[in-house]
């Protein structure tokens, strides 16, 4: 028994975990979101191939909102780097910018819907329009959940709880936010290509 204890004291236990369980949970959650949108995309393509498909031009504002979301991702990454270097002032600014840009993105998506309605493309009508609303709506819903995650990171950043020794929260928000950004890029290109 003494031998065992001595042995333990001499050597720190090796880390066997490749990944933090909480982060792993996040990645699995992302898989479910990917499957949700993959099934929607395939339904879209199958339905489109059947004909009777209303074609319409995507409103210009979706290009701008895409840029806004990309910028928010850059700000998120800036926040992460600041947290890593313990630069609290920059962290607070960066994470606030991300949050505000996220809100602006949502607002622009909503404006996009208004323009669609002005173009006589409605949620109720030809499935091509309905799908467009479903895609943007579902993504918008996930952006809202991303903002909620971000709020938690924001609060703990202002309480100085996010720093180089406690990066899990900011890492999770950053991963999720970047994912939502990439997801939107995919949807944007998809909807542009198969309009």
């Amino acid at each position: 028994m003494e031998n065992v204890q001595q042995y333990k004291l001499e050597r720190e236990p090796q880390e066997t975990l490749a990944m933090d369980p909480k982060k792993f949970i996040l990645w699995l959650f992302l898989v479910t979101i990917i499957m949700l949108f993959a099934s929607q995309s395939s339904a879209y393509l199958v339905r489109r191939a059947e004909g009777n498909w209303l074609e319409f031009e995507m409103p210009q504002i979706f290009w701008y909102s895409t840029v806004v979301l990309l910028m928010s991702s850059v700000a998120m990454q800036w926040a992460y780097f600041s947290a890593k270097k313990d630069q609290f002032q920059q962290l607070k600014i960066a994470i606030s910018i991300t949050f505000v840009l996220g809100l602006i993105f949502l607002y622009m998506q909503f404006q996009g819907w208004k323009e669609l309605v002005a173009m006589n493309v409605y949620f109720v009508g030809n499935p091509s329009g309905s799908f467009f609303y479903v895609f943007t709506g579902l993504h918008g819903f996930h952006i809202i959940t991303g903002l909620i995650v971000l709020v938690f990171a924001l609060f703990s950043a202002f309480k100085l709880n996010v720093h180089s020794k406690n990066l899990r929260r900011i890492q999770i928000s950053a991963t999720y936010w970047h994912f939502l950004d990439i997801l939107w890029l995919y949807l944007f290109v998809f909807l542009l290509t198969f309009n």
């Binding site: 028994m1 065992v4 204890q5 042995y7 333990k8 050597r11 236990p13 090796q14 880390e15 066997t16 975990l17 490749a18 990944m19 369980p21 909480k22 792993f24 949970i25 699995l28 959650f29 898989v31 479910t32 979101i33 499957m35 949700l36 993959a38 099934s39 929607q40 339904a43 199958v46 339905r47 059947e50 009777n52 498909w53 949620f123 109720v124 009508g125 030809n126 499935p127 309905s130 799908f131 479903v134 579902l138």
Partner: protein
Amino acid sequence: MSAIEGLETAHHHADEHAHHHEAQSFWQKYIFCEDHKVIAKQYLITGILWAVVGITMSVIFRIQLGLPDSNLSWLKPILGGWISDAGKLDPNFYLALVTMHGTIMVFFVLTAGLSGTFSNFLIPLQVGARDMASGFMNMLSYWFFFLASVIMFASLFLQQGPAAGGWVIYPPLSALPQAHPGSGMGMTLWLASMAFFIVSQLLGGINYITTVINLRTRGMSFDRLPLTIWSFLITAVLGLISFPVLLSSVLLLIFDRHFGTSFYLSDIYINGEALPNVGGSPILFQHLFWFLGHPEVYIVLLPALGITSEVIATNSRKPIFGYRAMIASMLGIAFLAFIVWAHHMFVTGMNPFLGSVFMFLTLIIAVPSAVKGFNYITTLWKGNIVFTPGMLFSIGLVSLFVSGGLTGIILGNSALDIQLHDTYFVVAHFHLVMGAASAFGLFAGVYHWFPKMFGRMMNTSLGQAHFWLTFIGIYLVFIPMHYVGIAGFPRRYYQFTSYDFTHKFMDMNMFISIAAIFTFLAQFIFLWNFFYSIFKGRKAPQNPWRSNTLEWTAPIIPGHGNWEGEIPAVYRWSYDYSKPGAKEDFIPQNIPYSQTPESNFPHENELIATEKVIESQNFNDQFKTHH
């Protein structure tokens, strides 16, 4: 056994013992509990209650089918207005009963009740973890399931009746409230309930995968995982990939129903009036639905197969035959599960070439399934079989799996399916291979792990009686049903009295119904045995089945955190039964090779050197950071 005690004392650290527990309130301990063992029991009890409801429904519609002249007035106290004054079952309610029986049994009993119970209970105990990766998510998972249950149960009491479009809820039947009384509020509640159910399954599944991959104890490499854990892992992955697809198909259906979109609806006339919906496709729903629906079959079946592997190896006192082949066949089945969905849709006007592709892929499933059947039989071959109730149900599962699987080969043929589609042949097939087989897996698991769950034993004689009556009853129900199906009886019909071709089979239909009632009554033996044994059963010993897996090294009634002191390390696979030269006919996973020189094979002697490495590894002890 002394070896285990020796090991435990060797690892005993006074300082490791320090974590103390605050007293938990009743609510924390039993209601919103984050302990995986309590959550597993919550799932089990809820599943059993649902099974009683679901099977009772099947008996009611079997009486209607097999004994069409009977007077059902005695059911009036329960069913009220659904029984007419003449004592006849309401035809619309018959459809609702069939729908709810399917929904309840597939989702609430055999998905939540089976996977929810045993994944929750066994994963942390068998991989050597204190609890699930996220106890909070696990707790949420059960309570979302509970919420789904409450909504579904409430829908049974609607005046218009619950959903009645079949458990597959094909639009337009499910999309238009005009289609059927149950397609109004009943279907709305069905969809709401399933949305919560999907959330529950995803929360649970994400937890299972994370725990298996990240929280294994020292030495528990993937090639030492018990097959139960492999099956739960693969099941959870299937659910993770397929349930979001169901969610999206349900979502589009909800939009069609409540917002007037036309994803699934087109060119529909009601009383000569055209509906405004144009451009939708009901086949699209079927594609999305069956992309979940087919993996769902394996979500139901794989945990039962995993439980069977463990129980058969333990009670044959032999290593499982073909451990790696068992894993490979489960992976193969899981992969194929995603590319065969269209075999449910052969008669939807599908391109015959596409049909033959799906037929080919479907028939390939016979290969990994046969590997499993073969391996179970070869594990039993020349074993010192102990016929515990769990073992009997496991062997019964193999029998049902083989006999139900054979008709799968017939149904998988797109040409034969034109004749057999939506007949009782299909009903008999999937009840044997998926329904009864999985239910047998559930029974096997309950009988086998009851001592670990409740610290008491179930009555063996009652268990054996329950097995034989159920086993005989199941075959008496479903073998004649194949003939009825070949004769052309379509499923979901209210009665068969008005057709000439069905007349000469009415006695067979009556026989099926009487056998169903017989099997139903036999289940009360189990119910009594289960609930009585929880309180009054014989006290369980430490390791009643002399099994190798880690859960039997934990205290008889494990507390919060499962093991007192350190989590045991793992040095060998879980199937060292009847090893030549060994003192006992089993060597638990936590016994190092250095303690069993008499039974080691040469390559295992070489592994002794790795034991120091295993012992020096991180403990993966979640509680170290918490307390």
